[in-house]
Symmetry: C2
Subunit: 522 residues, 2 copies
């Protein structure tokens, strides 16, 4: 077999990414200095990450990246930062109660601590938000380490923007490319002639909303409407909202804050799952084009429909009155807030919570489990199958019904007046099939693996562990609920979930392609 | 809107089907005479069904059936026999403890008894095997009524053969048509030049295996290896094995019989999910062609793989030692028999049981739930997604991976050396998407509907209620386990499940097509 892929250049670029990762670690270092903890941890992390990056960069050979090298690069980039990103967890947690710290006691303890650190790091950079930290608190973990954890999600979100602007449009199969099938919807690549320029605009949208959210959260605090939303918390949640990340330094997630905070966060979660390119229209005053966008209509429609259903159910008493963040039956504001918050947070894969929905009635959980299959919009940081794919799937299925009786009628799949290319339809079908197939097989594997170590897992726990990781959502139900953690899963399951998080974030196919022979051979 | 579909002819043909249904009721009438019960019930049923059939036949206008009329006919046929088939249930159960008997006490009791009777009748004719009879016993229900119930499945199986020989090959979307994509595999329509002749061959295979099974079962009884497998039981299980039906006059299904019976039934269950056209080769001595058939390889491979996995798990103690039909840890024969039996019975949608697998550990149930998505072979009476579609889906997904990097390479999907038409690939994707979509939405609806009436349903119960009906499998887990029933579901859920059974049996699309405007308009 002759390898025709220029892997050196791809690996070298991962080195560059790691170099920049080292630079961003200056932020948790500053936090460490301010709070007087962990300084050495982050200095060493910066040095190690930078050294690793510089070493890999030496493989550079100045050649251009083809499509294959680009695909190899994005997979290696996410794997690389996930692995490199374990360093602060391992160092900061060493010798503490942390479950991710380097444990040198025995080979199996060492292995487990590395798997846990990789899980947490991957969960961050893929903006999944699943955690193995166990009990999350600023007493147990340093301000600096938790800020680093939030930062990984924000950086992951920036990475997603590059992925969808530069790589995904090259592939027929991915949601980002579908934007060109949208009627008045913008084409990511066509916003401006240059990819770098497009990325910059989307980064501006992303950064702008992040800063706005931080300011507003802290503003609520200053006005006295959010006593515990100090500057640290404001920045922390600013970092994890726009990337649909969902990490929080609070064990009780957004339930730890006042209703005012919860209401404020909701529109920002919705924005995080919206096609960022639409804000380009907003900036140019073309408001109508936003509402004419089919995917946006579908996104808002799905949120509205599920929220109204769940609101009615919660209002009449779906959830037991919980101690914290519970749902109070018969109070319209409370049940609407909980219904809307949990709907948007699970629908677009953010994974925050204002209530421990893992304790709601099982049928309410089944509804939320269904919502987890929807996903955000193309051109957003949201994960999952995504609205635009659902629209294409439903239209294509609808088309199948008419061609059953009139097989000779050539009827294209249309979205917002424009024809969707047949290659794209086929790509969307393939993606969705692979996504659901991997989800199903993983559910069974996770259930069997848990039984192997005597971990008793219910069906909804196994299903949600699978969908919450491949969908980059984060929390599931039962032990992995929004106030729980993935800590008690066996290491083998955690490794599978790490792969699921990567697969989901890279939209499955770009990563699977690497495992085909034709990719590597001429 | 101008209706261009000649519905009169389709309805008239349903009348003919009902007329023949009335004729077949002579069998339960004979049983009633032998056992001295219910004679009047079946005489009246025959009269009513025949009258209904003759009345509908008067709509006949001697025109030929087009594709639209054929599609309308098959849907109306299944709906028609399901509705007409309620008559014996309603009459025989009237005034008894039966849950399907005509209850005239109140409008809601009347409605519920009709829904229950329709559920049981539909479950029979669609060969699903889900039951609302509650406690099944020959004390509670007459020999004649239960024999009628078994007969509906055997008739349903004959109907499926007509469906797949005469109707499905016309549609790109269905499994039967895929047979032509198989390398040395036979083409159903090409076996002999005439459709009627093809159907006759398959009916012969179907009838032949049924008679053989009845003889062998009764033979075991005569040799003393199956004390309770009297002639009635032998015929009863002969009637429900080949159509992958799963109804049994025993509340404990096949667990009520000796291991010898269980071992004997296994190969017949496997045959019921095998492409019947393959036996045409066997009859002509072309044995090798059978083993070269890709779908047969996939079918046997799937059974083998799951069985070995489950065997290992049961051997080491997955299931608690149950009173009846339990799994005894550490005994190879017992655990192999249970693993193989439950695998084949759920994989190809038969739904018999030799153990109350609803009481197995939850992770074993998750594995069996996954198996329920596989389905039988095209050209068999098995339901579900079906092996051949899985092969096409996996090959098409594999093709997608190579075209991602080389979009200009035209690579067809091949199965056993032959190219699968792109229309067929698209049809398979559409079918599978619709199937899974309807399954998912129905799961949520069933869960919410159960909560409405205060029925506490676990996730796996809701999931299995949905897949066991659309997949025409029958039993699920928990309250609807193999020794349980669907009785306690609300009538609304039962109506949904009735539609799911029809949809599954008619392979979704031929039935959904009727609800499009383009079907009815010119
Ligand atoms: K997330
Ligand atoms: K069945």
């Amino acid at each position: 077999m002759q390898v025709s892929v220029n892997w050196r250049q791809s690996v070298a670029l991962v080195g560059t990414v790691l170099k920049y990762l080292a630079v961003t670690m200056a932020l948790p270092l500053s936090v460490a200095i301010i709070y007087g903890n962990d300084r050495l941890v982050f200095l060493v992390s910066i040095a190690m990450t930078a050294a690793l990056g510089l070493a890999l960069e030496r493989l550079e050979d100045d050649s251009d990246l083809g499509l294959e090298e680009a695909l190899l690069f994005v997979t290696l980039a996410w794997v690389g930062v996930s692995v490199g990103g374990t360093i602060p967890y391992l160092l900061a947690g060493m010798g503490t109660q942390s479950t991710v710290g380097l444990a040198l006691g025995s080979p199996s303890a060492l292995f487990n601590s590395f798997v846990n650190a990789l899980f947490e790091s991957t969960s961050g950079f893929t903006t999944t938000g699943a955690t193995v930290l166990g009990e999350i608190s600023l007493e147990r973990h340093s301000h600096a380490l938790l800020m680093y954890r939030q930062l990984t999600q924000w950086l992951g979100g920036m990475g997603i923007i590059v992925l969808m602007v530069a790589i995904l449009p090259e592939l027929a199969v991915n949601g980002a490319q579908l934007i060109s099938a949208e009627a008045p919807g913008p084409e990511l690549q066509k916003l401006t002639p240059k990819i770098a320029e497009t990325a910059r605009i989307l980064w501006l949208v992303y950064t702008g909303f992040t800063v706005l959210l931080i300011c507003l959260l802290y503003g609520l605090h200053l006005r006295g409407w959010a006593p515990n939303m100090n500057l640290y918390n404001a920045i922390a949640h600013g970092f994890t909202t726009l990337p649909t990340g969902g990490f929080s330094p609070q064990a009780k997630s957004i339930a730890a804050f006042s209703p005012a905070v919860q209401w404020l966060v909701i529109p920002f979660i919705i924005v995080a799952g919206t096609n960022f390119a639409l804000f380009y229209f907003v900036l140019h005053g073309q408001y109508l084009d936003v509402f004419r966008n089919r995917e946006f209509q579908g996104y808002i429609g799905a949120i509205g429909g599920v929220t109204v259903l769940l609101w009615g159910l919660l209002f009449t008493g779906a959830a037991p009155p919980l101690e914290l963040g519970g749902v109070t039956r018969g109070i319209a504001e409370n049940s609407l807030r909980q219904a809307l918050f949990q709907t948007v947070t699970l629908l677009n894969s953010t994974g925050y919570a204002t209530s421990d929905f893992a304790q709601w009635s099982e049928w309410a959980q089944v509804l939320l489990l269904g919502v987890m299959f929807i996903g955000g919009s193309a051109g957003s940081t949201g994960g999952g199958i995504k609205i635009i794919r659902w629209l294409v799937l439903l239209k294509a299925a609808r088309r199948q019904l008419s061609t059953t009786v009139y097989p000779d009628v050539v009827e294209p799949v249309k979205l917002g007046g424009r024809t969707v290319d047949e290659d794209v339809v086929r790509g969307v079908f393939s993606f969705t099939f692979l996504y659901l197939f991997i989800f199903g097989v993983s559910t069974v594997v996770i259930a069997l693996d848990a039984s192997r170590v005597g971990l008793s897992l219910t069906t909804i726990e196994a299903l949600s562990a699978s969908i919450a990781t491949i969908g980059n959502i984060g929390p599931g139900f039962g032990l992995l609920g929004p106030f729980g953690s993935y800590l008690s899963f066996p290491a083998t399951s955690k490794l599978l979930m790490i792969v699921l998080m990567w697969l989901g974030r890279l939209e499955v196919i770009p990563m699977l392609v690497l495992f085909t022979r034709s990719f590597w051979e001429w």
